[in-house]
Point group: C2
Chain length 143, copies 2
DNA sequence: GTCAGTGCAAACGGTTTGCATGTTT
DNA sequence: AAACATGCAAACCGTTTGCACTGAC
């Protein structure tokens, strides 16, 4: 509500700062992302957007998500070969996905700290905690 | 050479134990995997196989890789939305891929130990260290 | 002889792109 | 008016599948 409207306007303001045009499809995509509590695939975003504006095309949604991603306003991650999932940036966290039931969990960023340090010192590799979801089996799907 | 032939025969023997038939395409795929020093995409495996046996089809390679995967003789992992990479099972390790130059590094399994323990205790989640490659920037591509 | 394994070609799902049109600035 | 954003449809890439045929057992 109040907070969500504010968050939406913040994102749109950032777009404007970067000389991007504010259009109806962009408003809709941002609103969907702001009001989403979980991670959405591009297809899910498209479906929700189309409930409000039925003629917004999937390719437009992809282009908008890419634009938001470039500006670091949203983050996407890949779990296995499945569709990528998107959410608003802000909280720093990683992702873990169950290979069996495909539920995705957020993992606090700190959990990756030690791993991150170790990769940096052994390989010089800087870990991107957002971009890929680790996989495994959730508590429910074991055994 | 000697060792590689042995390894190839070991894999084929395991196939036989599981009542799988030993065919020319399977021999070729296994030989390619045995002699590969790095991780190969299905397409790379297909190309190498076709150097020896030009009429082996990509779909057959996929089916053979899947069969070997089911028997835990090979392991595959996904890096972002790119093609999956395959290699013979055996060594236990994770993967880390550079978002910029797409080089994949192997990371000793121990590096994941603490992360693995933490996921288990906080979420009850059992990490699969093989299945997904973490991403980030390699030493060469930073800055 | 039987059935698993194969080649081919077509389908698939997620994503990207070319182009003509529409809309923001 | 100019530049950018959009819709549509087609292309794309990695992967999977249906089917008739071949070849291992």
């Amino acid at each position: 509500m109040g907070l969500e409207i504010t968050r939406t306007e913040e994102v749109l303001a950032t777009l404007r700062e970067h000389a991007k045009r504010i259009t109806a499809p962009k408003r809709a995509v941002v609103e969907v992302l702001v009001s989403a509590d979980d991670h959405l695939t591009a297809d899910e975003v498209t479906q929700r957007v189309q409930q409000l504006r039925p003629d917004v095309s999937p390719s437009t949604v992809y282009r908008i998500l890419e634009e938001l991603d470039d500006l670091a306003l949203v983050v996407h991650s890949h779990a296995g070969q499945a569709a990528a999932v998107y959410h608003l940036a802000g909280r720093s966290h990683g992702h873990v996905t169950c290979e069996n039931c495909h539920v995705t969990f957020e993992v606090s960023s700190d959990v990756f700290d030690r791993l991150s340090r170790e990769l940096k010192s052994t390989l010089g590799f800087v870990l991107d905690r957002h971009h890929v979801a680790l996989s495994g089996l959730c508590a429910h799907c074991q055994g």
